[in-house]
Symmetry: C2
Amino acid sequence: MSPAVATNGFADTQKEEGPSRLPPVYSELQSNRLNHSPPLPSILKSSFKVVDGPPTSAAGNPNEIANLFPNLYGKPSVSLVPGDSEMKGHQSLKIGVVLSGGQAPGGHNVITGIFDYLQERAKGSTLYGFKGGPAGIVRCKYVKLSTELIYPYRNQGGFDMICSGRDKIETPEQLKQAEETVKKLDLDGLVVVGGDDSNTNACLLAENFRSKNMKTQVIGCPKTIDGDLKCKEVPISFGFDTACKIYSEMIGNVMTDARSTGKYYHFIRLMGRAASHITLECALQTHPNIAIIGEEVAAKKLTMKNVTSHIADIICKRLELGLNYGVILLPEGLIDFIPEVKQLIAELNEILVHDVVDEAGMWKRKLRSQSQELFEFLPQAIQEQLLLERDPHGNVQVARIETEKMLIQMVETELDQRKQEGAYKGHFQGQPHFFGYEGRCGFPTNFDANYCYALGYATGVLLHSGKTGLISSVGNLTAPVDEWTVGGTALTSLMDVERRHGKFKPVIKKAMVDLEGAPFMKFASMRDDWAAKNRYLSPGPVQFVGPFANDINYTLMLELGAQFPY
Amino acid sequence: MSPAVATNGFADTQKEEGPSRLPPVYSELQSNRLNHSPPLPSILKSSFKVVDGPPTSAAGNPNEIANLFPNLYGKPSVSLVPGDSEMKGHQSLKIGVVLSGGQAPGGHNVITGIFDYLQERAKGSTLYGFKGGPAGIVRCKYVKLSTELIYPYRNQGGFDMICSGRDKIETPEQLKQAEETVKKLDLDGLVVVGGDDSNTNACLLAENFRSKNMKTQVIGCPKTIDGDLKCKEVPISFGFDTACKIYSEMIGNVMTDARSTGKYYHFIRLMGRAASHITLECALQTHPNIAIIGEEVAAKKLTMKNVTSHIADIICKRLELGLNYGVILLPEGLIDFIPEVKQLIAELNEILVHDVVDEAGMWKRKLRSQSQELFEFLPQAIQEQLLLERDPHGNVQVARIETEKMLIQMVETELDQRKQEGAYKGHFQGQPHFFGYEGRCGFPTNFDANYCYALGYATGVLLHSGKTGLISSVGNLTAPVDEWTVGGTALTSLMDVERRHGKFKPVIKKAMVDLEGAPFMKFASMRDDWAAKNRYLSPGPVQFVGPFANDINYTLMLELGAQFPY
């Protein structure tokens, strides 16, 4: 490849570990985890049958879904039950796997799960890894996975075995090239490891191949640290458990620091774009003084001023108790939940397509008065970020707004005001934090490592049984791994439609925080206590051995009806 | 206490857990560590004698030290050897302990070490904890420590059992009040847990009490995550091991993320003000593409342009290998090591005492031409930070300069230049990080937990033996805990003098990174390999059980002559 073209992880490894290849280096924990065999649910260790459930429908607008997926709509979900195997014809398979979207701990174990299934139950099979995400399918960039190649990634974090990408396979041209690739490689099956968008895309591919009488089956796998791909049959997306535990380790440490120093309010922004699951889970794990849940902000139609005042109220209350420090968690996507901010951003996007930001600020006259008022209310640095941080389409890059710094400044202004009014006598010092990249690529917890391995192994089963258009499903997760259930859920049954550009587009709707769900209700019942008192918890670093090394996260625990220990 | 006055950790706990006291909440790891008994060196578990070494001298300027410490100078250091105890007269003691300076993991174990020693070997003793650092001694703010009070802090991070503070006891007024406090409490001994400044202060207190024929002995204990309090007899300061391992966990995760995404250069600023030990240790643990060691920058008299070019060179080289991502570590105090920047800051401090920053920038004419050139070379945001971020004395608050962002912008500018010259064809994207508070208050590693417990227990021994003016010393640290040596080092033997305001002031000089020491030499021998190739290591989260849970850090290992495994 041309030296001036940057490539990503996997290809780089090939390139740099050329003839003068040095042995790879591993830390002790890396080595320890490399040699760790994740336990499998017992159903996968014995003889099983793949049994169809009843015909399925759709999450919404079933007629539209039936129109979009004529070959797949209505097909049953499946489960594995003990019994004699009835595997389809040929023993060996040619399978392709692709990672799609952002990193999530455990992705490598999905791949090794598929690989090990094939090695153990479909000898002579071939597993191809498409490189750099779905673009690898379109461009036919792949690597044939082998025992040696896979080994360095067992139970390791990251996605660099084959790397990922954010492309979709949507246009007629892309679909055509995908068809050529799977034909060229003679694929019996394709596994798509991704979030809601990627699994929707997987279903479209399955439909497309089926409609052309192509043999290639497509199975999806639920990935995202954000935790927003879930439903009854798919209790949790992988990576969420690990990311939340890594963030909670750091939040707990910051809490101890806050209590030791006694003078800072730490505003911690957490990754997790559309939904606030990560913030909610971390709150349940660490008991911060305040955790802002975006879905609640949206439901109550709160303004920036509401949010700022709420924080200031708690700061004042704590001061009366002699506490001049605290910890506040906020979701990365907070801005997206505040209606007046969304309105401002929409107007900015519109105006700045055409207008130039003039020094005198005349451009602001094009804002509606509510938006102009809000814009002026925001700190200078944030105004600049709103104007300057734009993506190639000219839209504000909301993710780049340092929301924690924005809130600190707004709270400072509010408290200065209260000081002048004599209502606040303290000295407020905010400390901003953003926990993101550190949590996305950590070693998968035992839960994620086991969950992913089972998900991967299960996709092998589903493909071997001739299924297509399903998402790998592992359940009964509050029980020991032995007792986990295994199956596949019809992707069409998770679908609804949205209108985009005058057409109906299928979507798997993101699962937002349910304000009447058990995790949020638990949080809501305890937060006042957490606000005034210090009920901080320090979960500490993830442990891989010991009595609680297999604990699952609280969100899952509560949603599956288990008891919250605090 | 007045509700409007903020107090810190310990007092808050008392206040909020009033009559309606709720049981404290612990995470599972917290509970697990609470019930963990750190092993003691076998010498401390049996009968021992405290044996004097030969008379000691000083690290430098012995005459001046002798003048400043007439009662202490020349006194021997001591070691514990097996044998029958010859403990001084009375069995029970009244001891005070104080935490001084910034947090460091393990501090609580020093206190519990003292407490347990007294419980086990000097029954009927009393241990007082002074609250909020040395100011607690001056103001006589203390708490009587009990089994129940201490229990929730065993093997836990943070300093909130009694909290710390940055005051020193220096002025005649402060010394007088300190004397009154120790007299009022009838203290046989005082333990000062702190860094180089605090231990120097401890020695001055010891000298002062001795000169007035007061019975109160003073023993120091070596604390600092920065790792800059060390010498032959005091091989390492506590807290360094834990902080470096927590930072390395996160650095390793970011490396995996970098390799998975393939497009960012992560610039990671690390805590550790005056010396670059933390950056060096983290480099040895994770093998970043670049680690900037401040002491090397100072020794080679590098300029900002040199540093920027060096980074840009490596980025260009990596691009030729197809690698468009990387990880760069930099010490928080980097700016302090660059002569031209120190010069600029000194001039700014001088000018801005008298002059106002005028819009037209006329004030810049007062800068020397080299300084003005450098100032113009710096990014706008950094210029503003230099002008605005000033402490109450009007000095630039160097710690608040976001050095990682500064370097990203400067590297970007340099690469843009090279692009115009056709020497660089890539697309550079920098990602800034600051790892600080998360590492300062984590659970102490087994090493720090054991080291601190032994240090604390040893101070009990030293006080019980009638010693004063020593710093608790535990050695032979590459061996199992059983074989650790225990003693006390004469603080005067670590001293030198500095001239300040025309007077000689005693100091324990900070241990800077020794460019001819084993850790740096090892780093220097491997860094070119790390720069071009990816030799990344992921140490992962600190483990408390398992085969490597008692590993010590590489700095200590190399300095004590052990083999580096990579």
